[in-house]
């Protein structure tokens, strides 16, 4: 079977064209480097079947990053190259094209984003380009699907280019080609231009980013809480849960029943594989995941995220990160699970570790925040502000320390700022679907497994022993009532409910501050803990959680003495 390789710079719309050609969904975003691993699909033309490979975006054939290494390796086995270019940035994109020419593999050139050239005042004579480089050139608009058929009909016309040049003069050669095929006309500033200026400007950029964040939270709370409290929770509690309790009532083997529905009859105090293990990922986490991915996908396709990275680069540089880490950290203010998953966009392990620590420590997740605020306001606004201030300061200090301890340099931001593009329904839904599917196939099993393990420990009374052993002296240090032990256990399942459980304890303001900070930090929730293991490996995950645990203990102990 012949192999067709989709090759091009990052963020030129390869993934969209790939899914148009093969009907397979791939995540495409409006920023560089979404495809690190390659994806395969199949395309049948006439009677011939082709294997289509979506190669990670690369700026050059001399690999400088992991994604580019993968790209160069894949080129060795390609039969046809489909070189995809962003026609709004022809000159830079041609650099890869003329390098590909040297590979002597039959090739087609696709000018993507063709529809955008008109209102950007760019006119490209593609017939002339075809003449110069000697391979078919096809104008395409991947998002609307225009020109995709052309690609399919012209695949067989792919040929080896006879264009020859001196590799050391590449930019001069490209300049020559661009000058002869492209005309730029002056045009007025559009709305997007002004929007672009404002969102990346040093003064207006930060407030706009904060507004974007605020709107994001509003939407996430609206969708997430609405779905959880009004639909999924009632459905679960009035239909599913009674059904399961009923069915398992016939099981007379105590151990088996405890495995299925847990030791306690109260849902959120037991760890049953059919009850809590379903409730946590589906009712607690899923609504927020869905809501977050809706907003995130929109912002990604719009092209806003690289601008957030620029605006916050300065701040993150102080703790040894670059602006791209702002994205996971901001997501973490909502829910830690998508935040941890999104650390994939970072390059080095060092960056991932520091970012994860910031995600886990800088602020509670959205449901927990809501609970701390609503309960804390009984003690006054100063108590609430103090809790968040302390959390923020600890997070900054810890990441500063990590930055000093962990070997390696703070990376510099170096990224293309893509033009704003109005997101299309087709790609949005496609992406949302893939993400939700991978949440169910990757994260949910981990969470269920996690609840199962805890249940085993609980049935075997290991947790009871542990909480007495570890809990009692720990609480003695923090001057909190002994009943906190069971709340801590509960907090592992649902961090927001653990805060609610503090209310019957009759804590004073100082105890509330200490208890809240401890409950935010001591352990991530079961969903984020097992997502962390999946993303970073068990060793690193344990290191990070123990670090956070030790810090939380130290801080709350000091606070207890100081306040």
């Amino acid at each position: 079977m012949k192999k067709i390789l989709l090759v091009g710079n990052p963020n030129v719309g390869k993934s969209v064209i790939f899914s148009r050609l093969t009907g397979i969904g791939v995540i495409a975003s409006n920023y560089a480097g979404t495809t690190v691993e390659f994806t395969k699909g199949y395309l049948t033309i006439g009677g011939d079947k082709f294997e289509v490979i979506d190669v990670p975006g690369t700026y050059s054939l001399e690999p400088a990053s992991k994604a580019e290494e993968v790209a160069v390796e894949l080129l060795k086995e390609g039969d046809i190259i489909l070189n995809i270019l962003d026609s709004t940035s022809l000159e830079r994109n041609l650099n890869l094209t003329i390098q590909l020419i040297k590979k002597n593999i039959p090739m087609l050139v696709v000018l993507n984003f063709w529809d955008e050239t008109k209102h950007r005042g760019i006119s490209i004579d593609y017939a002339k380009l075809e003449e110069i480089i000697g391979v078919p050139v096809i104008p395409v608009s991947g998002v609307t699907g225009e020109g995709i058929k052309e690609i399919v009909t012209k695949i067989e016309d792919a040929k080896i280019s006879s264009f020859s040049y001196n590799i050391n003069d590449n930019w001069k050669v490209i300049g020559g080609i661009t000058d002869s095929v492209q005309k730029l006309s002056h045009r007025h500033h559009t709305f997007w231009d002004r929007f672009n200026e404002a969102t990346i400007h040093p003064i207006t950029g930060v407030p706009l980013a904060l507004i974007a964040l605020l709107i994001t939270f509003k939407i996430v709370r609206f969708i997430g809480e609405g779905l959880a409290n009004n639909i999924l929770d009632p459905l679960f509690k009035s239909y599913y849960y009674p059904l399961i309790i009923n069915l398992t009532g016939h099981i007379h083997i105590e151990f088996l029943r405890q495995l299925l529905i847990g030791r306690s009859s109260v849902l959120m105090e037991s760890f049953g594989i059919l009850t809590t293990a379903i409730y946590v990922p589906l009712v607690v986490v899923f609504p927020y995941i869905l809501a977050f991915y809706i907003v995130l996908s929109f912002l990604e396709d719009l092209g806003y995220l690289p601008r957030v990275a620029v605006v916050f680069d300065n701040l993150f540089h102080r703790v040894g990160l670059h602006g791209y880490s702002a994205i996971p950290v901001m997501l973490g203010l909502g829910c830690k699970v998508p935040a941890i998953l999104s650390t994939r966009i970072l390059e080095s392990k060092r960056e991932k570790i520091i970012t994860t620590v910031l995600i886990l420590m800088s602020a509670p997740c959205m449901p927990q925040t809501a609970m701390i605020v609503s309960l804390g306001l009984h003690y006054g606004i100063r108590v609430v502000s103090l809790i968040f201030l302390v959390l923020f300061i600890i997070a900054v200090i810890t990441s500063l320390l990590l930055n000093m301890i962990l070997k390696g340099d703070a990376p510099e931001l170096f990224a293309e700022i893509p033009p704003y593009r109005m997101p299309r329904m087709y790609t949005l839904l496609n992406k949302l679907w893939i993400r939700i599917r991978s949440f169910f196939s990757e994260a949910v099993p981990m969470i269920i497994l996690g609840v199962f393990i805890i249940n085993l420990l609980d049935i075997l009374r290991i947790t009871d022993a542990l909480t007495v052993w570890l809990g009692k002296p720990l609480l003695y240090l923090l001057n909190l009532p002994g009943t906190m032990v069971s709340i801590m256990l509960l907090g592992f399942l649902r961090k927001d409910v653990s805060i609610v459980m503090l209310s019957p304890l009759g804590l004073n303001a100082k105890q509330f501050i200490v208890a809240s900070i401890f409950m935010v930090l001591y352990l991530p929730c079961v969903a984020s803990f097992f997502t962390l293991i999946k993303e970073m490996g068990i060793k690193t995950a344990l290191k990070i959680t123990s670090l956070v645990f030790v810090v939380s203990l130290m801080v709350t102990f000091i606070l207890n003495v100081l306040l």
Partner: protein, 75 residues
């Protein structure tokens, strides 16, 4: 000859050279920042923040430390 951080906003310049190792030079080259090209600095963030340049109709964000090693001649 000055470096990119010293260039004023909205000023045009020609890249003279990039100071650094082979990898560094190549990394910048992939985005089209290479001796001889025209570059426009569109904005810069304070306190040694990143700056945005426009090269070959593409906008690129570049960290302060990296920008210091790109030598340019204002046009």
């Amino acid at each position: 000859m000055i470096n990119l951080t010293q260039l004023k906003n909205d000023e045009k310049a020609r890249v003279i050279c990039v100071e650094g190792g082979h990898c560094f030079i190549r990394r910048l080259e992939t985005m089209g920042i290479t001796p001889g090209v025209e570059i426009i600095k569109t904005s810069s963030h304070f306190l040694c923040g990143p700056l945005i340049v426009s090269v070959k109709s593409t906008k690129v964000a570049i960290g302060h430390g990296m920008a210091r090693r790109v030598m340019v001649e204002p046009l």
